[in-house]
Symmetry: C2
Subunit: 266 residues, 2 copies
């Protein structure tokens, strides 16, 4: 921990933000919040075939928490749990070489939120408001049944709050064995956050003709949830309260975050 | 091309979808459409440091088009243009080794759209409706000024339709030299598309008590654009028509796609 007041990931050459330095963040709070509200993580890892120059990449679901210390807040050290499949390349790779058995499979994981389209006087100063995280860590399959079911609950409730207890649980033996959860021991991580208005060059700002015809500002963006659409198999006459609340809070918070990003507040 | 009627990327071991095979798509149309409507691409590449086991990953903007044949539709072979920076690791790597000078830097690129949260009777059958693409290709910096400015226009208009001509163009010499565009010659690619309702196991479907209390269906999701928020520096009294139209079409198409994904239509 670099700073006891604001616990952070270590700054290594690998994860230090060099371009737009002030956008770089290393504290647990920022990084864990971004990951735990991101519906899709992009997971990259080296392929086992040395003749294949391309890293593998898979979109996955995940959630950060601490099994050994489940009550800790997101400002404390956490592990990343990913939901994957035994038959996937990732699962087949885990623990196949002696070094991987010791440490696990090296994964790079990205979580990105798009908060707005930043429209400046020139294409050059166009940007996004965004919050993105890159994590590096070593992955191993979770074998302990208690830890596995705990992580499955976290990941399910990470998609829709309270969904776990509103479904048929616990999972059957077959479901438990066909579901793979992997635990990532995070080595380092960084976030990059862009917020605020567009900023333009002085020469363009002095160009009254340009400014008179060029709209500048931000189009806020967030992930919208529509009204839940019942399946033909659904037997409930109404959307349950926990789900209606989830949709309404998600939309409200999404729009608020996008608006707050413009004024630069957190 | 595997099929002259539906032009496609080759199916190699690297890009063949093995899990949920029917979700795999290889045609240009599907793949290029997903990439060109995705606001953030995740780009992964091997790090130059052999002692670093983690692939590098960066969120970037990109657009697929053909400079040599600019009028072709998305059902034809296209290149991927990425917007990057000279000082970034990616730029520093490009063309640094003899093999990279020949072919370019190997990149793996992901484009993912989240179309809905699929809520089943059991956590095990929960899923997302999604459209995701993984591309593999070799990247080289674009040095030709005409190709570079053409790609900058494509990428800018990929964020907001018609934005390019509604800003101060052309870019200055300084802007041209500080902006890096890289061209990816795509070697192979695949898409994976999940659409439709949740599907549950027979035993759960026969459990009337479970079905009476468990809501099943889909929460449609898409990227919402809020009303454009003018910067304090903005001089226009109204949001211009091209921008108002863009926001309104984007929201409409986003919601429509999420709804169409549920019924399984394209």
């Amino acid at each position: 921990m670099a700073d006891s007041e604001f616990p952070s990931y270590p700054k290594l050459p690998r994860n230090t933000i060099n371009r737009y330095k002030p956008r770089g963040k290393y504290d647990f709070d920022t990084i864990h919040s971004i990951v735990n509200t991101c519906p899709v993580l992009h997971v990259s890892f080296p392929t086992p075939d040395p003749s294949d120059p391309f890293p593998a990449m898979i979109p996955m679901l995940g959630f950060m928490a601490s099994f050994s210390n489940p009550q800790v807040s997101i400002t404390e050290p956490l592990d990343l749990y990913l939901h994957g499949y035994i038959s996937s390349r990732l699962m087949r790779l885990s623990g196949t070489s002696p070094s991987e058995e010791e440490e696990g499979l090296p994964l790079t994981i990205a979580a990105t939120h798009l908060d707005g389209l930043v429209l400046a006087l020139t294409p050059n100063h166009h940007s996004y408001n965004y919050r993105s995280v890159i994590l590096h860590g070593f992955a191993t399959p979770v074998v302990d049944a208690d830890e596995k079911i705990w992580a499955m609950e976290k990941i399910t409730n990470g998609v829709v709050d309270d969904r776990w207890t509103n479904t048929r649980i616990p999972p059957t033996k077959t479901e438990m064995s066909s579901t793979q959860i992997i635990k990532v021991r995070v080595v380092d991580a960084s976030a990059k956050v862009r917020a605020g208005w567009p900023s333009d060059d002085r020469a363009d700002m002095k160009n009254d003709e340009l400014r008179a015809k060029t709209w500048v500002g931000v189009v806020p963006t967030w992930i919208a949830c529509g009204a839940p659409v019942p399946s033909p198999d659904n037997k409930l006459s109404k959307v349950p309260a926990y789900l209606a609340d989830f949709v309404s809070v998600k939309n409200k918070v999404g729009e608020q975050n996008a608006q707050l990003a413009i004024t630069g507040s957190k």
